[in-house]
């Protein structure tokens, strides 16, 4: 599992300096986005045809009123066609046919076209993910605006009942599904190799595949609108989901696809972090962001398969009338609930942990102090990750689950707030006697801590079973998870964008607009979601379009604030587009004067990241210590690496020189 410094061979996957002499084909002849679309269309038609053919022979299916077979098969084949059009299978097929791979094209890539291709360069994948995630987030946000518009009045309905449910489901699923990779996708994929001193990730094809599944998941989910949407919200509870029309298939296939994407992304990162660290990058020197990526990736790999399995069962229940979840045919509605939440709870920690990682990475830089309690922080990440598998039944306290288990799950859920609290200990310790610089990333980090505090405390309310009897399924729960996920993760994501965009694209974002963005977003976010706690406690359930008249004022307040919140996110979008497309002000290599390894090279980093694998000399948080070594030696003397390999202790697991050629 060592990084081998290979001799110059043209078929090496990405991250190499342009070396191949072969002329690249013109962009429209190479597999890319345009061929992928063609493949997707052909695939859908083929799948639909096949589905019609199969289902006509299947009596059980014929007696059900909605024929989901062609829809599901159409989607599945559409995804396969999309991937084939992208050229995902090309190398595989060539290898199976015994032919040599295409040479040289990858390396010659530069400019905009490579972002529309299936590429093996982790930095390109990171930027693709960034743009994708912003698009998905904004789409989900638009649906949220529609929800709040409807909730302005308890009796006058802008959206009819079906349109409202459709919008609720689309908003929730778009956010929960796509935002699973909102940090790991762009920042994890881009930065982890840079942070650990590697030239590449362990499985570049897997990483690129995990990205290219997301546009398909997005399109499939949105296409549910054409079928009238799905009436279950993002949780997809059976048997309502078995009863629903064809829009439910969009949900099941899209979510399953995203689950697969998440598994691949997580798997890739775990192996990269364990096996591709540079010499000297001990576990105790690993940046906290990488720890959080590790914890998140483990959750992804272990929890998402349960989701994919459950959704597959849902699809078979809907298409071929299996009886997993339908009570009168011998199934159980509880089965789906438990399968879903066994995934669903680690999923929310998949969303929360990267937020912790980003803010823990940002605050030492802008406090000019080491991260307080490094081991505590790492223990917190791991503790949260581990415990998150033991708490899922707290979503089911009122469902009629075995009453004996409730005190147990109450205990585990209360316990999980202990490692979560470590993050605050670390933050407060880092602030102690710091020299705080309130630049935009730092503002977002502080906002994240303040928001997550409220989110976390409300979680303690929900973990208490008697208090949960009032709050379960109400707007209190909504406020809780919006505070933790949007107030926590999305604020951290925004902070990460402002912090790392100079590194990723070599472009600074406008500071003034950034500050306006932060203040408006923070104020209007709190203004939107704080009243929702009260609304829930006063008896308003989730996902309703009619509510008690006395709750109208609070709802109107929340709705107007949400429109303003949308406006503040528009400010972000304007800043992002203005800075990256119009102004394009070059960024310095290390504008924040940070010690992280990723900041010790040009912005953006060259292909291949490092000329030579660096030797890491100290941790990334050694601010304020005049005797601290620089974080790494980027030009280690020849023979250092092979010398490091010669002894079996000390230099950490890492790459070696391999074949005896000098580095």
């Amino acid at each position: 599992m060592a990084i081998e410094i290979q001799p110059e061979r043209a078929e090496q996957p990405g991250g190499r300096e342009p070396a191949g002499p072969a002329a690249a084909r013109p962009w429209w002849m190479r597999p890319a986005f345009h061929t992928a679309i063609v493949g997707a269309v052909i695939g859908y038609l083929l799948g639909h045809l096949l589905g019609n053919f199969l289902s006509s022979a299947y009596q059980q299916n014929a007696s059900s009123d909605s024929n989901d077979f062609p829809v599901v098969l159409g989607y599945v084949f559409m995804v396969i066609g999309w991937l084939a059009g992208l050229g995902v299978f090309n190398d595989l097929v060539r290898q199976m046919a015994g032919r040599p791979p295409r040479e040289g094209e990858e390396q010659a890539a530069s400019g905009l076209a490579r972002y529309f291709r299936f590429t093996l360069d982790h930095k390109v994948v990171g930027v693709q993910y960034l743009i994708g995630m912003i698009v998905y987030f904004l789409t989900g946000g638009l649906f949220a605006m529609a929800i709040r518009t409807e909730l302005l009045s308890p009796s006058y309905h802008v959206l009819d009942a079906n349109a409202y449910l459709m919008v609720v489901g689309e908003h929730g699923t778009m956010m929960m599904m796509m935002m699973s990779s909102v940090v790991l996708g762009p920042f994890g994929n881009y930065l982890v190799p840079l942070m650990i001193g590697s030239k590449r990730v362990a499985f570049p094809r897997m990483e690129a595949l995990s990205f290219w599944l997301t546009p398909m998941a997005y399109v499939i989910l949105l296409s549910g609108v054409l079928f009238g949407g799905f009436p279950t919200g993002w949780t997809g509870y059976a048997p309502l989901s078995v009863q629903a029309g064809a829009g439910m298939d969009s949900y099941a296939v899209a979510f399953g696809l995203m689950g697969i994407s998440v598994i691949l992304a997580g798997f890739n990162l775990i192996v990269t972090i364990i096996c591709y660290r540079a010499p000297g990058m001990r576990w105790s020197r690993l940046p906290m962001f990488v720890w959080s990526m590790m914890a998140t990736a483990f959750l992804m790999v272990l929890a998402a398969p349960v989701l994919v399995g459950g959704l597959y069962m849902l699809i078979t229940d809907r298409t071929v009338q299996t009886a997993f979840f339908v009570d009168q045919n011998g199934g159980s509605s509880y089965l789906y609930e438990n399968l879903f939440w066994f995934f669903g709870h680690p999923e929310v920690y998949i969303l929360a942990l990267p937020g912790f990682g980003i803010v823990s990475e940002i605050i030492p830089v802008f406090c000019r102090k080491p991260l307080f309690g490094y081991k505590t922080a790492a223990a917190g990440m791991i503790g949260v990750s581990l415990l998150s598998f033991f708490v899922w039944q707290h979503h089911l306290f009122d469902s009629g689950m075995d009453p004996d288990m409730r005190p147990l799950f109450m205990l585990t859920t209360e316990l999980i707030s202990i490692p979560t609290g470590f993050i605050y200990l670390v933050a407060m310790g880092t602030f102690w006697r710091a020299r705080m610089r309130l630049s935009v990333p730092m503002l977002f980090a502080i906002g994240m801590y303040l928001n997550f505090l409220i989110g976390g405390i409300s979680g303690v309310f929900l973990s208490d079973v008697p208090a949960d009897t009032t709050s379960h399924g109400s707007f209190f729960v909504m406020a809780h998870f919006h505070y933790t996920i949007m107030g926590g993760l999305i604020f951290a994501f925004m902070g990460g964008v402002y912090y790392w965009l100079p590194k990723m694209l070599g472009i600074t974002m406008n500071e003034r607009l950034g500050k306006i963005h932060f203040y408006t977003m923070f104020i209007f976010f709190n203004s939107t979601f704080l009243p929702l706690f009260a609304l829930g406690q006063m008896g308003m359930p989730r996902r309703v379009f009619e509510y008690a008249r006395n709750l109208e004022t609070l709802n109107d307040w929340a709705s107007v604030s949400s429109f303003l919140l949308g406006g503040s996110i528009l400010i972000f979008l304007i800043n992002f587009i203005y800075s990256t497309v119009i102004v394009r002000q070059r960024a310095a290599a290390n504008p924040w004067e940070a010690r992280g390894l990723e900041w010790q090279m040009a912005s953006p980093p060259p292909p291949g990241n490092f000329e030579r694998i660096p030797v890491v000399l100290s941790g990334p948080y050694e601010y304020g210590d005049p005797n601290a070594l620089p974080v790494a030696d980027l030009n280690p003397p020849l023979g250092v690496v092979s010398g490091a390999l010669a002894e079996t202790v000390g230099a950490g697991s890492g790459p070696g020189a391999g074949t005896g050629t000098e580095a």
Binding site: S63, S64, D65, S66, L142, A146, S155, Y156, H157, V158, L159, D160, A161, N162, A163, M166, V167, V225, L226, G228, P231, P239, V242, Q243, A244, G245, V326, Q328, I577, V581, I582
Partner: protein, 229 residues
């Protein structure tokens, strides 16, 4: 790309995206509500007459095998495929349902009990009825229920096997075995929106019968708008 080219591309992309959003909103979010039949202007002596029919299929839409209600338009006298209608407040609404569909047992036989009408009865072909047992006889085809007003009326079906096997084949129905059900109720003094639905339920081919026509506006459930003057 030069700055000018970038700005132009950006503006074009923005217009495209904005147009797409507007299209989705108009077409899929606000554009799917069925038409509303307006009876408010026809109130005479504090009464209004509303005529509906139930049909075993909907051959005029893209869901031909779904059962559905039709409402007779007060202005043209034609059957309109909708379940949304408007009546004035504080009025006696006299409802006539021409019921062309066949029988089904109710999922909850409680809904065979007439509640909320004037006299707590319905009239099946002129004869007063207060309970219809849908399990011990082929007697109920649908219900017309407005839960917000406590109104529930089981719609009687043709009772013989022969009649049930020869139901009308095109919709809206004009001939074929049917019952005529009439009842009346008072609308409240305050205006408001009241949903109504069938409680059989009538979504054949869907688990528990509540999919399809039961989950799509305009078929087996709809809205009664009470307009305060």
């Amino acid at each position: 790309m030069s700055l000018r080219a970038r700005v132009v591309t950006l503006s074009a992309a923005f217009l495209l995206v904005a147009g797409g959003i507007v299209f989705v909103v108009v077409q899929f979010l606000v554009g799917q509500t069925p038409p509303v039949e307006n009876y408010t202007s026809l109130a005479k002596n504090g009464q209004v007459n509303v005529t509906l029919q139930t049909s075993p299929q909907t051959t005029i839409t893209d869901h031909p095998d779904w059962v559905t209600y039709f409402i007779k338009s007060p202005q043209t006298g034609q059957w309109v495929h909708t379940t949304f209608f408007e009546v004035p407040a504080n009025t006696r609404v006299n409802v006539t349902i021409e019921a062309y569909d066949g029988c089904t047992p109710l999922r909850n036989p409680y809904f065979g009990h007439v509640t909320g009408t004037i006299g707590d009865v319905e009239y099946v072909n002129g004869k007063p009825v207060s309970n219809l047992n849908s399990w011990s006889g082929c007697t109920v085809q649908h219900t017309f229920a407005i839960p917000g007003l406590g109104l529930n009326v089981p719609v009687a079906s043709p009772t013989s096997v022969n009649a049930n096997n020869n139901l009308c084949g095109t919709s809206p129905c004009t001939s074929g075995p049917h019952q005529v059900v009439t009842f009346s109720f008072m609308t409240p003094a305050k205006g408001g929106t009241f949903r109504w639905q069938c409680f059989v339920p009538c979504g054949g081919g869907y688990v528990d019968g509540n999919g399809g026509p039961m989950a799509t506006l305009g078929y087996m459930m709809g809205q009664m708008q009470v307009v305060a003057s």
